[in-house]
Symmetry: C2
Subunit: 460 residues, 2 copies
Amino acid sequence: MKELKYILKPKSVVIVGASRIPGKVGHIILQNYINDGYSGKIYLVNRNEEEILGMRSYSRVTDIKADGIDLAVIAVPAEAVPGVLEDCGKAEVKSAVVVSGGFAEIGKQELQDEIVRIAKKYKIAMIGPNCLGVMDPRSRVNTLFLPSYKLAKPEIGGISFVAQSGAVGSTVLDLMAGEGFGISKFISYGNAADIDEVDILEYLMEDEETKVIAMYIEGIKRGKDFIELGKRITKKKPVIILKAGRTEAGATAAHSHTAALAGSYEAHEAVFRQFGFTIANDISELLYYSKIFASEAAPAGSRIGIITNGGGAGVLTTDAIASSRHMLLGELSEKSKSELKKVMPPLVNIANPLDLAGDADDRRYRDALTSMASDQGIDMIIVIILFQTPGADSRLAAEVVAMKEKTSKPMVVLSIGSEYTEMHKMMMERSGLPVYDSPRAVALSLEALYSYYKYKARFG
Amino acid sequence: MKELKYILKPKSVVIVGASRIPGKVGHIILQNYINDGYSGKIYLVNRNEEEILGMRSYSRVTDIKADGIDLAVIAVPAEAVPGVLEDCGKAEVKSAVVVSGGFAEIGKQELQDEIVRIAKKYKIAMIGPNCLGVMDPRSRVNTLFLPSYKLAKPEIGGISFVAQSGAVGSTVLDLMAGEGFGISKFISYGNAADIDEVDILEYLMEDEETKVIAMYIEGIKRGKDFIELGKRITKKKPVIILKAGRTEAGATAAHSHTAALAGSYEAHEAVFRQFGFTIANDISELLYYSKIFASEAAPAGSRIGIITNGGGAGVLTTDAIASSRHMLLGELSEKSKSELKKVMPPLVNIANPLDLAGDADDRRYRDALTSMASDQGIDMIIVIILFQTPGADSRLAAEVVAMKEKTSKPMVVLSIGSEYTEMHKMMMERSGLPVYDSPRAVALSLEALYSYYKYKARFG
């Protein structure tokens, strides 16, 4: 296993190609380390500068007097990378993230082979080249050289997201951060010249900070090793996989993008399924599944309870659940029914879906949730809150978050709307409650959750 | 055909049950008319008040000296509605929106029958009871009695949205407004005691302000009439339909919601398909299809061109297109290829998808769009813009909007991300360019567009 720990949790970092010029890659990365509050030692290397942003700059890595540096972030032109890596090796640098492009992806395979040779000679664990690199909000390592105002900053959490492609990676990261997801690690590994998807998965499998792994891949280099790992990894934690190149046209496009040999998607899919991976068919599904798994609740069965303040939304959600492969609507117990009859106004029809009516407030939701949470006939709960109605407000959102903390049953919220709704969705999402914006998304996510835990119970 | 014009374009309105108390239905509706700038004459009726918000209040509708009022908005307790309607009839009021609940939906069928009888006697066209009513941003009629800060306000546009359920209706309306859609009419018709879905569709079919009809229904009352109308309506304009109660469990839930007899969904679906309706299977699809049809561009064929600044996103979109039923990736003409070779940097591989690379700016997009717009091998264009990249900014968004205005080919944007991206999506959406947030959504929407225009060319 490659030593990713030096890349993700470095005690010291050298930025090679650090720059004082705003907009330059070597400037953005340095700014990231400063702004994010990285607490380790930072060294800078730029052969033309003696000082950058008030910090000393060295001409070469070998000039630095330090007992081995954990990580070198390399942002220099491709042809300069071999020399820099040699210096890193001599200075006993333990790992490197090469963000520079200009290697195999534009046909320069020899140059890429050369840096791999150097990395191996000095036992440097290397991510890249041609990648965005890594982000770890806990250790505050961040090599993403994108304009920071264009990307939302993720909070600390349990999802590790692995993407070969930097663009898909940063896009999904932005979306996750914007929705209030917490991130454990983000790793964009580009050409995978040294460290590849199998190395990364092996690391994340053992990483205790990682509760869920989400990944976007175009091709798999080491098929056998991937299968070996696949057998073990999903027994420990859920892995969601979005593979591009599912169609012939897509595979052709993937080949010209990262030279990935996509292979037959059917064969890949069969392996993914066999080993309990959760397959995402679209970027949106990658997000749906990431957040439901991050909530870390395992269902005891597939019977769904629905609480709603909008009848129509309850019907549509019932349709979505009833059309799913494994799930069905649960039957309320006699105990629940008699409890609910006592506390609900007469117009509320005691059934599942439980339509609390358009004037439902936090109190009515609490009563409904209390019954469903203890009802033996309900395994997972969908709480539909239409915030356009008079009784739905921040108190209600807080009430639902509090209930989620009290029950061990998986619980998700469905809320649809713009600004006022978004505000409450964000608040609930940040409190660890998965929130969705369509009945389809809810049904897909609960189905994925159920299927994974069923696999795990059987083989885990 | 019922006279919906008095409801949607009234020259005078009487609000029965107008109130000075904030939060009351009769207060919110009055505030709507004042805040939205309704320019017709407003009368108020409240038997306990002589003046409300500085306006005169009458005891009864018959006290008003006016030569017939176009619309009465009735927000009084259910049992008072028959008397109010009698008064409206005597005062020659032409139409009524009864927002009050407490009729057939809670078993009071007789009370409902009575108001229908009165409405028929006086030839009052009546929407409701138990409905949110109507909104028309052009005439500024707005009977939606929901807290205004919870709902985004829609702009004027071509989509008319019809929803039996008030909650689903207001939710989708909020979402449409929040995304920057323009609305022609919003009609929530509740119990459909008098005016029903067939009447509404007949009106909207002829309404020149309506370019697209989107509807949410739970049941259809007049099946034969619906079929008769179905044969004609889609030849004039696209109709998107989301029907709840697709499954047995859903149909049961729908019955307890609006007493709708959902009937066999398969039978409904067959009719919808036969008559060229666009079927939405989820609330999200209702939105996807509404905006692509609102852009009013008809494709000449099913060949797709993809322009992207992210390779991975291009591959995923290629997969989505190639997995669709009718669409395929177009082949760039020799002319396009040689044009593009001249203007593109060497690293850009001239192919479809056309990956402009992560540093693409407005100029590179313009060149790419110019070629694709005039290429005879491309019928529809997908423009992927990942705004996290350095070159993607407001200039680029403006450039794409300008191109959309120059070409007659359907053109959509795919952009994924949070705040910075959302800002640009909103700007493009408001300029009439449909923007989507997943490859799946793009593929579904283009497929729906293509299928509808194919139907129309054949039968229209």
